[in-house]
Subunit: 305 residues, 2 copies
C-alpha cells in the first residue's frame, strides 16, 4: 500500500507529535517525517533518539515540500506558527493541528492559510501526564477518538486522507462542529482538569495536614487527581484561556451541584447522596461498555506500552 | 511461624474483608477465618467461592471464640453490629474495623465493647471501584498504608499483634489520632470522591452534550473521575454523613480556590494559572518518589492482580 503523505512536517515535538511519529512509522503511513521544535534542547533530543527522519531548526524550513503539516504546539502559539509557515506551504498541502480547543485555533490560524492549502483542524482525545520528545509511543491513539472539525467548504478528498491517517494510527474519527467540540471537551476534559489542579493545590496549601501525609496516604482517591494535575502547565494554561466561555459555563454548573451535595451532607440527607452516587455509577458502566476503559485494576493501560 | 490469630471473624464480606481473607491465607496469618454478611446472597457467594473457612448466618455467631473480630461494614452500620456482637465476644479478643472514618466509628462502637476486650480502630488506605464478595484479591494491601487509631490506654500487645497482621498482609502501618485521621482523609479521599461524583453528575445532566458523547470522549481526563465515582454508594453516603465537618471544611477551601482560578480564567491571568499548575506537578513527583504510584501509563496497577 502506498504511503498516505510523501512528507509530513511535525511542528512541535511533544507527547502528541512524538506519538504520531511512532504511529506513522508503525503503519508505514508517511514517506518522510520532518520535525522541528522551538527549543534547541528538544530538537537535540529528537535527533538523538531518531524521532523523525530529519530534524530542522525552523518551522518555515520544516514545511517546505510537506504534504501534511501538523501544528502540535500549545494552543496559544498556533497563530504565530501559522503566520511563520504560511509563505512556505506547498500548494495543495493539508495543514492540521492537534490542539485541545478548536474555535480559538481556527480564529488564530485560518486567516494565515493561503488559497489552495487545506486547513482541517483536529484533536486526538489521547494523552498522558507526560510531556516532551521522549514521552511519545506508537500505541497512544489506539482505540481513542480523533475529532476533525473542518469548515463547511473544506475539501472532501483532503478530509478523507487525514481521516485515513488517524485511522492508520489506530484512532476512530468523528467530524464535529468547532463550537460543539469546545463544549464537549469542556465537560470531558477541561473542567475535570481544572478541578483536579484545584484539589491538588488545596492539599498542598493546608497547614494542618503536611505534604508528606498527603503524599503517603494518596492511594485513597487523591492519587488519580495528582496524575491529571501533573499535565503540562503551558498547554493547560492556554486551554483555559482559549476555551474560557465553555469552561466557565461547566464550572458554574459544577459549583451549583457541589453546593447542593454539600447542603445534603450538612443536613444529613443520606437518601439524596445515595441516589446521586448510584446514578453516577451508570455512566461508568457506559464507558466500560464503549471500550474507553476497562474495569480491570490496571485500567487496561498495561497494554499501552 | 505460628499464626497471629487462631480464629478471625470477618463481619461484612465486601472488597476489604474479602481481600483480607485472601491476604491472610497468602501469609498464613490466621488459623480459621469465619465470615458473615447481612445479605443471604453475599453469604451464598462467599460459600460458593470458598472465601472463608466457614460462613455463618449472624455476626453474633461469627464472633464466638474469635481472637480477632474485623468490622467491615459501612460506617453507618458499625454501631448496630457492635451492639449485636458485644455479649458474644471472647475475653481478651481484639475488635478492629476498616471504616474510612474513625471518630464516628469510635463513638458508635466503643460504648458497646466489654471490659477485657481490646478495641483498636483501623483503616487500610486501599480500594478499587469494585465491591462485593467476588471483588477482593490478596495483593490489595501490598505497599499501601494502614492507619491504626488506638485510644491512649489501649493494650500495647494487642496493638502490636494487629500491626503484625497488617504488615503480614503487605501493608505499612502508622498510628494516628482519630480526629487527625479524619482530616487527612477528608483531603486525600473524601473531598476528591465528592468532587468526582459531582463532576460525573454534571456531565450526566447536560442537555447540550449527550451521555453518549460524554462516554465516547471520556479518555481526555473524565474517565478517571468516573472510576472514582463508581465506588460503592452506601459506603460513601455513610462516609460523608459521618465525616461531615472535615469534609465540609475541605470542600469550603476547595471552592475558594476554584473561584480564584475561575477569576484568573475570566480575567485572562495566564501567569497565575501557569504558576499554579507548575506547583501541583511537584506533589505528583513526591507521590511517585514515595512509591504510592508509578509514572508508567498503567499506574503500576498491572501488578495488582
Amino acid at each position: 500500500m502506498p504511503v498516505l503523505y510523501d512528507r509530513v512536517a511535525l511542528i512541535g515535538l511533544g507527547l502528541i507529535a512524538g506519538s504520531m511519529a511512532h504511529a506513522m512509522r508503525r503503519g508505514n503511513l508517511a514517506g518522510e517525517i520532518v520535525g522541528t521544535a522551538r527549543s534547541a534542547e528538544t530538537r537535540a533530543i529528537a535527533q538523538e533518539i531518531g524521532l523523525c527522519d530529519r530534524v530542522v531548526d525552523t518551522a518555515a524550513e520544516a514545511v517546505e515540500g510537506a504534504d501534511l503539516v501538523v501544528l502540535a504546539v500549545p494552543v496559544g502559539a498556533m497563530g504565530a506558527v501559522a503566520r511563520e509557515i504560511a509563505p512556505h506551504l506547498k500548494p495543495g498541502a493539508t495543514v492540521t493541528d492537534v490542539g485541545s480547543v478548536k474555535r480559538a485555533v481556527i480564529s488564530a490560524v485560518d486567516p494565515h492559510i493561503p488559497e489552495g492549502v487545506h486547513f482541517i483542524p483536529g484533536h486526538p482525545l489521547a494523552g498522558t501526564e507526560h510531556s516532551g520528545p521522549r514521552s511519545g509511543y506508537a500505541e497512544l491513539f489506539d482505540n481513542r477518538w480523533c475529532l476533525l472539525v473542518p469548515s463547511g467548504n473544506a475539501d472532501v478528498g483532503a478530509i478523507d486522507r487525514l481521516r485515513a491517517l488517524w485511522e492508520g494510527m489506530g484512532a476512530h474519527v468523528d467530524l464535529m462542529d468547532a463550537d460543539h467540540h469546545d463544549l464537549v471537551l469542556a465537560v470531558t476534559s477541561h473542567a475535570p482538569h481544572l478541578i483536579a489542579y484545584t484539589m491538588v493545590g488545596v492539599a498542598d496549601d493546608l497547614r494542618r495536614v503536611t505534604d508528606s501525609e498527603v503524599i503517603k496516604y494518596s492511594a485513597a482517591g487523591f492519587r488519580d487527581f495528582t496524575r491529571i494535575a501533573a499535565s503540562d502547565p503551558t498547554m493547560w494554561r492556554d486551554v483555559f484561556l482559549t476555551n474560557k466561555d465553555a469552561t466557565l459555563e461547566i464550572l458554574g454548573r459544577f459549583t451549583e451541584e457541589l453546593f447542593a451535595l454539600q447542603r445534603a451532607i450538612r443536613s444529613g440527607d443520606g437518601e439524596l447522596l445515595f441516589d446521586y452516587f448510584t446514578r453516577t455509577r451508570a455512566i461508568r458502566r457506559g464507558i466500560i461498555e464503549a471500550g474507553q476503559d476497562t474495569d480491570a485494576p490496571d485500567f487496561g493501560r498495561a497494554k499501552a506500552r
